[in-house]
Amino acid sequence: MNQNNNSNNEPRLMKGNEALAEAAIRAGIHAYFGYPITPQSEILEYFTREMPKRGGVVVQAESELAAINMVYGAAGAGTRIMTSSSSPGISLMQEGLSYIASAELPCLVVNINRGGPGLGTIQPSQSDYWQAVKGGGHGDYHLIVLAPASVQEMADFVFDAFRLAEKYRNPAFILADGALGQMMEKVVLPEAGSLPYHEVNWATSGMGKRKERNIITSLYMQPEEMEQVNLHLQKKYKAMQKEVRFESILTEDADILLVAYGLGARICQKVVELGREKDIKIGLLRPITLYPFPKDEIARLAIRVQSILVVEMNAGQMVEDVSLAVNGRCPVNLTGRMGGMISSPEEVFQKVETIIEKQTLTLK
């Protein structure tokens, strides 16, 4: 596909994968390390085509393990860096991610989720939610997890991810799915050069004028020291909670609240419309950050609504976080399909009708 890259603010029709890659170049990444896998190979392709022209490094690594460890090294040198993969490849990266989280290095990892478990299918899925928000690798750590729901957000969240990653010295993660990667929508790309670099004093990029060597490690032989590192990380994760983001669609007068993210939230928007056409007050809460999770907002809405329906493209993962936030204030239901299948808006709407009938809700 031929599109000129010169004009900055003209709306373009782009695939989610391409928009994300172009945004990353505009965010000023120094390098990209990755290994191809459907449904996100366009990201590597795009970088391979564009980065050499625009002053960046692309390495097609020999494996995902290699790619994430290249990210570890490059992030340690204080550069702006990213990798991307899809589910099975992201599993291979978990050891490296744990190291990067422990060493407190900013970087961006993108997962264009496909159906699993195992090598799975190439179709869109949200089955990696737990892996993304609960750490994924070993040890007590968290990533900052952003969940785009449109091609525009696929581009915008790259900037947000780097901003947050660098603010907290923490790996950021974009969790999207195959459909968001493959679909085209109108996108206005963020402007190149609008994300300034910050000088850092921790990078292992040569002594410069410093007196002491910087050391980046995740190995602490003394448990006392390891505990201090953990306490520090936990304090940081607590501070990160204020970065929580969500979108509310007609939640204030809702009888039934849908909670869904990413592509699932797009499907649920249609369900809200279907409901409103029939005078059923359905609202939608869309978590934008999956970690930190909008638990306070869900707790607040749980008092106002009669029932909550969590809609996921998996067997039910986020529903656990929703239930914790709701803490018994109202019933929490789940619907979703697995293995790359997607619920249609009509299917979800039917589920809403079943809930109204079974829980004998009196709607306002």
């Binding site: 596909m1 190439i122 085209m184 797009r266």
Partner: protein
């Protein structure tokens, strides 16, 4: 155009299904409309068939994946079999004549056959059959202006193919003209 137009394009790989959808989406974007283009990229693509869902709307598009369509444009038999019954009542079904053996049976929708392959062959450019179909579609559903389709072609086609734009324009016009007064089929 009041509400969203939900359209499925389907056929074999190589018939220009995905690009037909992409050109429509791009044209609508030029007209400041909201658009989404959702391709099939799974096993069916690897099996040789291709489809894409295009949604054009004046307001924010909710789900890019829908199961009922205002229009279906099908260029092979498996696609007709699969999508005929996904067209909303009162909707439009366009099919390429030479690619279909078993004709559609629904009477609650408008079915338009377009001999696009035959007409494209007369132009000595088989590749523009998809533009003949698109022209016919736009005559029935004027979602976008033809001039914007031409602007979209300039954006979507690589520059080395820009000399093909006039024949594409011709193809769009042939399609439009045909849809205006289609020759009745005698079965």
């Amino acid at each position: 155009m009041e509400k969203a137009q939900e359209i499925i394009f389907a056929g074999f790989g190589g018939q220009g299904i995905l690009s037909m959808g992409q050109i429509l989406a791009y044209s609508a974007m030029i007209e400041n409309k909201e658009v989404s283009w959702m391709p099939s990229y799974g096993p069916e693509m690897r099996g040789g068939t291709a489809n894409c869902i295009v949604i054009v709307s004046t307001s924010r598009i909710s789900s890019p994946i829908v199961s009922k369509f205002d229009s279906a444009i099908v260029l092979n038999q498996p696609s007709l079999d699969k999508f005929e019954f996904t067209v909303k009542p009162g909707g439009l079904l366009i099919y390429e004549e030479s690619s279909i053996i078993n004709l559609p049976t629904r009477t609650d929708i408008e079915c338009l056959r377009v001999p696009a392959m035959e007409k494209a062959q007369k132009l000595n450019k088989k590749q523009v059959a998809n533009m003949i179909i698109l022209g016919a579609f736009l005559e029935k559903k004027p979602i976008v202006k033809i001039e914007n389709v031409l602007s979209a072609l300039k954006k979507v086609l690589p520059e080395r193919h820009h000399h093909m734009i006039p024949v594409n324009e011709q193809a769009l016009e042939i399609g439009k003209h045909f849809a205006k007064s289609p020759v009745k089929v005698t079965v």
